[in-house]
């Protein structure tokens, strides 16, 4: 993208309450449910465009969530039941009981709809092979490595290929589990490389922050066939404006990426998705400028929230994105 500091979303937004109410109502017809989902998707797309995001999608408004949605459509899985995330929050976890295989492009309808309803660049988020494997019980394959690679070759690659065939140009592979097992980075690298093998598109890898602070990811980054990483930085940065290391302590790991020879783009997380406070445009400007200096090339910096915003209210989410767009504009002015 020719524009400096392009802005983008990571993926999920909180679903509109009125949409959820209607799609769960047995008295509402299937046609009406399709319409309310479409309306919600259009509302998200248009809101993100009006705020001024350069790269958009639909807030994943049609998806159950990032694990259960793809697993529903992949051969070899059977849901086992719910397992705790925290407190009384649970997710539906599946068993791998046979060879995993792609059945259908479960994001095709969603992608075609977004394509028809937006003129902006689109970034399609999909769940990566490593995370699908890590969050499942494996009763079929001999090792985790074998399952991860089977998912990469037989599920994610055909999905990506099909999406690219439909016109997708940017695919974001979501891998929240990747950084939680620092010792398994080799298989993570292989899983991404196998997932994108032979496919002509721009690939973005999104990995959440873990206690390891991307230390294990950094050496792998140049070897992974991704042009961009969208990563979390804001959630451990200070809220002080400034370009000094102490103020920008959440972003210092960027220097490590450069030291390890990574020369691609970084989508820097400038908004903490775990708090309701809105980062000021000036704070976001300084985070962007610091990142540009740390990477040594402002054209490598994309701007996004740390992660999907679905745990925030829609009002807070859009306010955060609005501030992010203003911060990017301030950073462009400061750089010109």
């Amino acid at each position: 993208m020719s524009k400096l500091f392009p802005t983008q979303e990571i993926g999920s937004l909180k679903k509109p309450a009125d949409m959820l109410k209607k799609v769960k109502d047995p008295n509402v017809s299937d046609e009406e449910k399709i319409k309310v989902r479409n309306d919600a998707a259009i509302s998200n797309i248009k809101t993100l465009e009006d705020i001024g995001l350069d790269i958009v999608y639909d807030g994943e408004v049609r998806r159950v969530e990032m694990y259960e949605e793809p697993v529903r459509y992949v051969d070899g899985f059977e849901f086992a039941g719910r397992v705790r995330s925290w407190d009384n929050k649970y997710y539906n976890k599946a068993r791998v009981v046979g060879p995993v295989a792609f059945k259908q492009n479960f994001h095709a309808e969603e992608f075609n709809f977004v394509k028809e309803n937006s003129n902006r660049e689109l970034k399609v988020p999909i769940t990566g092979a490593y995370t699908l494997a890590d969050w499942s019980y494996d009763e079929h394959y001999k090792s985790k490595d074998e399952l991860v690679l089977a998912l990469a070759k037989n599920v994610v690659r055909p999905l990506v290929k099909d999406l690219v065939g439909l016109g997708a140009k940017i695919i974001q592979i979501d891998e929240p589990a990747a950084t939680t097992h620092p010792a398994e980075m080799d298989i993570f690298r292989e899983s991404i490389n196998e997932s994108v093998k032979g496919i002509d598109a721009k690939f973005v890898v999104h990995a959440c922050f873990s206690g390891n602070d991307y230390q294990a990811l950094a050496p792998q980054m140049p070897e992974i066939k991704a042009q961009q990483y969208t990563l979390e930085f804001a959630n451990r940065d200070t809220w002080k404006e400034g370009l000094d290391d102490d103020s920008r302590k959440g972003f210092q790991v960027l220097k490590l990426f450069k030291e390890h020879g990574f020369e691609g783009e970084i989508g820097i997380g400038v908004s903490d998705v775990h708090v309701n406070e809105i980062e000021s445009p000036e704070l976001i400007r300084d985070r962007i400028l610091y990142a540009a200096k740390a990477l040594g090339d402002p054209t490598k910096v994309y701007v996004n929230p740390d992660c999907g915003l679905r745990t925030r209210t829609r009002e807070v989410s859009f306010d955060k994105i609005r501030s992010m767009v203003k911060g990017a504009e301030l950073a462009r002015k400061a750089t010109s």
Partner: protein, 308 residues
């Protein structure tokens, strides 16, 4: 036949998850009936010691949030799991004498042969924070004093075996076994109960010699992370050996005969003072249907293994 027990939090059923979410009128009775069901399942499996399934506990540390000057803080990942706990902040000195927070959160209908699991002090200090204590060592020792007060009341009420959960000892590359040992002395010195230190979430192959020197009655191992070949290099003639043979992280049900053979081989090489089998960590990582099957298999393995 050898002895057996389970430890940690059991899975809530789908019905209980929904009832908890909606805070339904029948929530308390549902918790009780599911607790009774799990206790009955353990009895039916002839487990040597019976555990409360801890269905009311949101994580293994949560009852301690009821102590004086302890506050609930942010969520933190449980090691490399896709599950989170609430960090506790110990913001004053008033928690040290305990307040029977463990016992008051256990089911009163447990039989006489009962066991309970609580975190050991080193792991506890690694997973939580304190504004009161300046050093990790100081924090660890004061947590040990609090845990001793809790354990004293548990032992007085008849708990014969206390499981001490030590995942941080397994997970952390560097462990100060001097601190671990000093803290455990506070807990076990003169205690009239068996204490078994459970390691999981990491391979302790290189730490077994240090573990054997700790002042506890026995050691428990997760054999999905610590290979049995490492355990078999050591003598357990002065220690109870618990093998975490039931994998709480996979729905595949263990084959009893293969497990019995494996336990007999381990015991033949390690010659433990006493031999127990258990799960490797909390059964809540699998749904209820699978947990129930695994409890039954655990009993079958214990009955089939040769006495030591």
């Amino acid at each position: 036949m050898i002895s057996s027990y389970t430890f940690g939090i059991y899975p809530r059923s789908e019905e209980l998850i929904e009832a908890t979410r909606k805070n339904t009128e029948n929530l308390a009775s549902l918790v009780q009936s599911e607790t009774d069901g799990y206790i009955t399942a353990q009895k039916n499996a002839n487990l040597g010691f019976i555990s409360d399934p801890l269905l009311k506990w949101d994580d293994i540390y949560r009852p301690f949030s009821n102590l004086a000057s302890v506050n609930l803080s942010s969520l933190n990942r449980i090691y490399e799991m896709n599950t989170f706990y609430r960090i506790l902040s110990f913001d004053g000195p008033n928690f040290i004498n305990g307040d029977n927070v463990v016992q008051s959160n256990l089911d009163s209908s447990l039989p006489r042969n009962k066991t309970v699991a609580i975190p050991e002090p080193f792991t506890f200090a690694e997973c939580h924070t304190s504004k009161e204590f300046k050093t990790k060592e100081d924090f660890t020792m004061n947590l040990a004093k609090m845990l001793r007060a809790e354990i004293n009341s548990l032992v007085e009420s008849g708990f014969e075996v206390i499981q001490l959960l030590a995942p941080s000892i397994a997970y952390n590359k560097e462990v100060d076994f001097g601190i671990v040992s000093d803290a455990l002395k506070i807990i076990t010195d003169g205690l009239n109960a068996k204490t078994i230190l459970h390691t999981y979430f990491g391979d302790v192959s290189t730490k077994i010699e240090s573990l054997l020197g700790l002042p506890v009655s026995g050691l428990g191992f997760d054999i999905t992370t610590t290979p049995t070949s490492s355990i078999e290099k050591h003598s357990f003639s002065d220690k109870i050996l618990t093998v975490g043979i039931i994998n709480s992280f996979n729905t595949a049900i263990e084959k009893p005969q293969e497990c019995i053979k494996q336990i007999d081989e381990i015991n033949a090489k390690t010659k433990p003072k006493e031999s127990y089998v258990s799960n490797n960590f909390d059964l809540e990582y699998i749904p209820k249907e699978f947990a129930m099957n695994k409890i039954s298999v655990l009993g079958e393995i214990a009955r089939g293994a040769k006495d030591v």
